[in-house]
Symmetry: C2
Subunit: 65 residues, 2 copies
């Protein structure tokens, strides 16, 4: 699992049109993984508050606020 080097490289390249170092791609992957984890944990708290078994769209959106 994870945000792979090729995928992150492609993402940065799409937005910049530049060459992208492997380290830069790996850094973005780590940043996104951390951010996704933070959002997920916040969403989990909301899902639990509502006594639900499924993380819903609203939970993710609310977690961002």
């Amino acid at each position: 699992m994870g945000f792979t080097t090729p995928k992150m490289k492609e993402t940065i390249k799409k937005h910049t049109g530049k060459r992208v170092s492997d380290d830069a791609a790996n850094s973005l992957g780590e940043i996104l993984e951390t951010f996704a984890g933070d959002i997920s944990e916040e969403a989990l708290a909301i899902t639990r508050e509502n006594g639900r078994k499924t993380v819903r769209d609203d939970d993710i959106r609310e977690a961002l606020k």
Copy 2:
């Protein structure tokens, strides 16, 4: 390209242990795509300032600040 529904579902599930709706997975994908784009564009400005052809790790890290 993009952060696929199955990949985002797996990410949320890993962090929550809950079931995850397709819409929730798609929302996280959109959020990460936007965030990755913002970081990339900020990194691009730094890469350009330094007159380089390659986006480096430092540019990505600096872009977050």
